[in-house]
């Protein structure tokens, strides 16, 4: 009876422990490789076409060329 009641708790602890392990390893690996990648900010100002881009539209890199039709 007690075992049945504890089943969800045991399951939750097992899943949480495995998840924590995977996430921890992932984050650790991410930090160890960070030196080789370009530093990025959590929040950055970007161009409209970087986020709202309809595939096939022409990407304009020159600010002088940028217009509503682009």
């Amino acid at each position: 009876m007690t075992g049945e009641m504890n089943m969800p708790l045991i399951t939750w602890i097992c899943i949480a422990a495995i998840s924590l392990l995977v996430v921890g390893v992932r984050i650790f690996c991410g930090f160890s490789h960070r030196e080789h990648t370009r530093k990025r900010h959590v929040f950055e100002m970007g161009y409209e076409w970087e986020e709202v881009y309809v595939a096939g539209d022409r990407v304009i890199h020159d600010e002088d060329d940028y217009g509503e039709d682009d």
């Binding site: 089943m7 969800p8 708790l9 399951t11 939750w12 899943i15 949480a16 495995i18 998840s19 924590l20 995977v22 996430v23 992932r26 991410g30 960070r34 990025r40 959590v42 881009y53 595939a55 096939g56 539209d57 022409r58 990407v59 304009i60 020159d62 002088d64 060329d65 217009g67 509503e68 039709d69 682009d70």
Partner: protein, 280 residues
């Protein structure tokens, strides 16, 4: 419609003048173009482009070479035939769809490549090199993505009426589930298995809200913890293909999306059963 300003018009004219003076000219043989377009179309389809986008981009590249391309698009394969305007010769190639996740960065770069070819900015050798570079480039910045997805899913929880505790639980459950999804994706685990595992893990973790009596909306936390796995893009692409009358491809995409949704549901149900959470 393009380009919009005088400066870009000048650039276009200058580019044309460069072409006529012996610059970048896209003039491959029909056989080479057919092989190139076969690779190009296979990757463009794989990274999540709709059929209409596929036809437009392939047609644009073929036109730049003074040739014509016709496509037969199937859920797992592409047939492409390149010919001249009077059909004096025909070359056909078949390519398989690559098994890769939706990648809008690749989609964007492939579309840009088609415009660069059409504008005469690259020759055939450069285009091939660019295609190789695009398709072998590593995925973009994956470090921030789990956090962003977790925040978005937490916001979804709030939209469905979850309280602050439920939002926090969903955020953590989504973060863990998404990282597991990334890890399994990098190891080429089948997408359906990945979705089952991730939805199971996320739903079990989200059950902490009710298991430890943390908040007042535990069912909303469990229900919204798996929303990040919903295959939205395949559903949308399927609808776009129906609009463009690519019914076979639309049906293929729809079936794929439904199978993914069924896997999501299976994982969610498994998690709810394991946590003794009532379904109704």
């Amino acid at each position: 419609m393009w380009p919009a300003t005088g400066l870009s018009m000048m650039k276009t004219i200058m580019a044309k003048m460069t072409d006529s003076a012996g610059g970048s000219v896209f003039r491959p043989s029909a056989k080479d173009l057919c092989a190139f377009l076969s690779d190009y179309a296979g990757w463009l389809f794989s990274c999540g482009a709709t059929c209409v986008r596929l036809e437009k981009n392939v047609g644009r590249i073929a036109s730049a070479a003074g040739l014509r391309a016709d496509l037969s698009i199937f859920p797992r394969h592409l047939h492409i035939t390149v010919s001249d305007s009077c059909r004096s010769f025909l070359f056909t190639a078949v390519s398989s769809i690559h098994d890769c996740p939706v990648n809008f960065a690749m989609n964007t770069r492939l579309s840009k490549l088609s415009w660069d070819i059409a504008d005469g900015n690259v020759d055939f050798v450069c285009a091939r090199r660019e295609l190789e570079e695009i398709t072998t480039a590593p995925a973009g910045d994956n470090g921030r993505l789990p956090l962003m997805v977790a925040c978005a899913n937490g916001a979804f929880c709030r939209l469905f009426g979850g309280d602050a505790v439920a939002m926090a639980v969903v955020l953590v459950a989504t973060f863990a589930g998404f990282i597991i999804k990334q890890v399994m994706g990098e190891r080429r685990v089948d997408q359906r298995v990945t979705v089952v595992v991730c939805s199971f893990v996320s739903s079990v973790l989200a059950a902490a809200d009710g298991l430890f009596a943390l908040g007042s909306t535990p069912s909303i936390a469990i229900g919204t913890s798996v929303l990040y796995l919903v295959p939205g893009i395949p559903f949308i692409n399927s609808f776009c293909d129906v609009v463009d009358r690519h019914y076979i491809c639309a049906f293929g995409r729809l079936m794929n999306a439904l199978v993914i949704t069924a896997c999501l549901s299976a994982g969610l149900c498994g998690g709810m059963v394991m946590m003794n959470v009532g379904m109704f």
